[in-house]
Amino acid sequence: MTYTLKQLSDALASRQVSSREITTAYLERIAALNPTLNAFITVDPDRALAEADAADMARAAGSAGALTGIPLAHKDVFVTEGMLTTCGSKILNNFVGPYDAHVVSQCRRAGLVLVGKTNMDEFAMGSSNENSAYGAVKNPWDLRAIPGGSSGGSAAAVAARLVPVATGTDTGGSIRQPASHCGITGIKPTYGKVSRYGMVAYASSLDQGGPMAQTAEDCALMLNVMAGFDGRDSTCLDHGDEDYTRDLNTPLKGVKIGLPKEFFTAGLDAEVAAILQAAIAQFRTLGAELVEVSLPKTELSIPAYYVIAPAEASSNLSRYDGVRYGHRAADYKDLNDMYERSRAEGFGAEVKRRILVGTYVLSHGYYDAYYLQAQKIRRLIAQDFEAAFTQCDFILGPVAPTAAFNLGEKTNDPVQMYLSDIYTLAVNLAGLPAMSLPAGFTQQGRPVGMQLIGRYFAEAQLLGAAHQFQQVTDWHTRAPVLTPLN
């Protein structure tokens, strides 16, 4: 079951296997292992098999594309017509969307087979997947560890080979960090590359969808499906169609990779630092040139992010009021009581915390001191990157300060949890593309990823660099050993 998207695509194309056979195999694996991992909130085998049959018919009719018939899971943040979309929240525990998100319809059009929806931190707020109303996800490499978040269900599902590919979203690291913790590859594209239509909003100016898979090549194939202009999202870029696989075989000779000195300090776990040094050496062997760069405002990305994201979230989540859909309290005295009870019952602690913070920073008398100030920092952070990119083509660094920590380890200390986002937040604030790819394992056997950050629109080049690295390393091919619960 360790087949990559590319291998499955080739096998389907040469008729070695049918979509029904592949889909059945993955569904069996989900049935066996999901009770242990809790990576899925919804699995719909009947629908998946029907789609698989349709894919096989399309192939027989000669109208199949490269990814037709390959099973896929969507993060439960993407609205799917006729299938539950909870966003990891109790407040949407009954919400079956009447429409498909742009990403969902793109995947459907490409013939991918939807097997289900993956678990996530509630409304994508979290770094450990412990904020899901549907229970925490376990890391397939070590069931005591968190899988990362908020796309932890997608990361765990791909790592455990429950699906060959899944979608994720990244607002402050939510694709890259779980990819790193679960030993898979994931990319957050430039803000605006993937339509947000139908992607339940957390922080609109930061949210961006992207693929999570075993390899950079698979991510490139998926990005070809997911990215592209959509007139229903006013922030979506009309950047023409591009082939994200085009640079996979471009050699790294002469490419300059910047190492931000602020990323390699005492805050970085020694084991992670050593793994990164080995990866850096590998890139050097591949012909890349390493240069030190500086991103002086890195530390400010945490306060800036934790003002802007909650501010937008506090407004984005106002629509969950129990009036039109979603959870409504059973008993209430009047309108305000209905709002208060429905939202108090429907939202979890972290979501409430961010709504409170966001409401506070936008309120009269505090707006200038917090929100406007944070927007200024945001511009400075983007300028940091601009300056760094005059000296290098990519930036390489850690994804997280440590490998996956244990479940429950940081749940009582939200600030500690926020600080672990230090290496990922700035990328979202600047809107840049960045990815995470496997770089090694700790002695405890937990995966460690590295982060590659590119210039705006440099997805193809980033994926190329990652692919070159994956040609000479095998971290991405390793899969955890899992035994089904009996």
């Binding site: 609205v79 919400f95 998100a101 100016s205 106002s318 629509r319 009021d321 039109r324 707006y367």
Partner: protein, 475 residues
């Protein structure tokens, strides 16, 4: 103490676009509840707004018409508050950077022309409707109206009486309907007025504390509400009280205003730029394109009517109250170049008749051509003004033209001097007493004699001619 009244108006005009401001749903009025509410309008998870270009063009059109500044970049902001008919929990509006800033509108009150300055006009979306009557113990929500485009037009506090406020509101109404940007249907809420009213001792520079009267949807209520509010505030102040800043509602049944909320329980709307919408950028080309479609404006048309057709300024003002009326007049004057006389008939008999029957010009069967036919017969002396009124009534009730009615009813004015002389002689012979009086210098007696002649002619004698011949005979 003498008090000065200060009034500023905020007017919500519904823009007559086919679809909503941020979704493709229809804006047509009166559909079954929630049948014109798309995923975007009901704020399902994941949906996003997309700006309707037509709404922007209408806002530009308004800005050009009032000689305002069109901001090349304006920003949509979220105004956050909870209400069941506000599906997103925020209204998308413009806050710090509106699309239109400044501008002015001239109003006429009595004999004076006054200029009211505009502060701004901004684009925003309307909310839905809460229906409290139809559901026992529950409230129904109809989101058909949610997302209907509005242009909120804010004036400076330049008005000093209810009459001025009404004149401004009417001038604005004329303009927005004239431009075709608003259908002007006040019953359906297409033109809603909020009035900010305060009073201050005459001569004081500082403004008094204002109260805002919300949601007035007729000019009559606007006038009543403001007058009530002015008196209420003056009474309070003269009794030694202080006005508290508040939002009030006008109850047309009692004719009073009552407090809806005070400043203390005012919302903190937590405005911030909407991250789902990029700043609205307007190019010179966009503005030029709208400018090219701009019709002749009412004020300019009134001046032209006065200059070209010799219509009085007052009549020209009345004729340009609506585009339909102005076009009616122009169509008539093209057939009968008697501007002054036509204006009298349009603003007099026609307006009175429409008003009496509560009918719109568009729903009236008396075409401009048929009215012109009538006025032409007055001008050439065929009809006396008395007979003309009779013909007008006949025109109103039939589809014949004026000549056919004159022919049918034998209403042609008699201008044959032989025939009139005969009638004059008969009248002189039959009324020696009146003749005596006139000769003794009593001018009125001539009218009595003329009346006899007119009566004898069944109203058809040319009155001027009758007078002339009487004088000749009696001198």
């Amino acid at each position: 103490m003498k008090w000065e009244v200060v009034i500023g108006l905020e007017v919500h005009t519904q823009l007559s676009t086919c679809s909503k401001i941020f979704s493709g749903s229809s804006t047509a009025f009166g559909a079954a509840p929630n049948t014109q509410a798309s995923a975007v309008d009901i704020a399902l998870p994941g949906v996003l707004p997309v700006m309707n270009r037509a709404a922007v063009e209408k806002a530009i059109c308004f800005g050009l018409a009032v000689d305002a500044h069109i901001n090349r970049t304006s920003v949509f902001a979220r105004k956050n508050y909870f209400y069941p008919d506000l599906p997103k929990g925020y209204q998308i509006s413009q806050f710090e950077l509106p699309i239109v800033e400044g501008g002015h509108i001239n109003i006429v009150v009595g004999d004076t022309v006054k200029t009211v300055q505009l502060t701004r006009a901004h684009l925003e979306e309307d909310a839905g409707k809460s229906l409290h009557e139809d559901f026992q113990g529950m409230t129904g929500i109809d989101l058909n109206r949610a997302g209907t485009p509005l242009l909120e037009i804010v004036s400076e506090p330049d008005m000093r009486s209810a009459a001025e406020a009404v004149a401004y509101a009417r001038a604005l109404y004329t303009l927005v309907t004239w431009l075709g940007m608003c259908d002007g249907n006040m019953q359906e809420g297409s033109f809603r007025v909020d009035a900010n009213v305060s009073v201050r001792p005459l001569g004081q520079a500082e403004l008094g504390t204002r109260r805002e009267i919300k949601n007035l949807n007729s000019f009559r209520f606007l006038e009543q509400a403001i007058n009530y509010e002015i008196q209420w505030q003056i009474d309070l102040l003269e009794d030694g009280g202080r006005v508290q800043q508040a939002t009030v509602l006008f109850d047309p049944d009692s004719g009073e205003t009552r407090v809806m909320r005070t400043k203390e329980d005012a919302h903190d709307y937590r405005y911030f730029p909407d991250p789902d919408l990029l700043p609205l950028v307007i190019t010179e080309a966009d503005i030029d394109a709208v400018r090219a479609t701009l019709p002749e404006l009412p004020a300019a048309m009134a001046v032209r009517f006065a200059e070209t057709y010799g219509v009085s300024a007052y009549d020209a003002g009345l004729l340009t109250q609506s585009l339909a009326l102005a076009q009616y007049f122009e169509a008539a004057v093209a057939l009968c170049p008697q501007g002054k006389l036509l204006a009298n008939w349009v603003n007099g008999e026609l307006a009175a008749r429409l008003n009496r029957e509560d009918r719109a010009l568009a729903a009236c069967s008396l075409s401009a051509a048929r009215l012109a036919g009538l006025v032409a017969r007055i001008a050439d002396g065929t009809l006396s003004s008395k007979l003309a009124k009779q013909v007008f009534d006949a025109l109103w009730d039939s589809d014949l033209d004026a000549d056919a009615i004159i022919e049918r009813d034998g209403l042609k004015q008699v201008s044959d001097s032989g025939a009139i002389e005969k009638l004059v002689d008969e009248a002189i012979a039959a009324n020696p007493k009146a003749v005596e009086e006139f000769r003794a210098g009593k001018e009125k007696a001539l009218n009595a004699l003329a009346g006899q002649v007119m009566k004898a002619s069944k109203g058809k004698a040319n009155p001027a001619q009758v007078q002339d011949i009487l004088r000749q005979r009696l001198q």
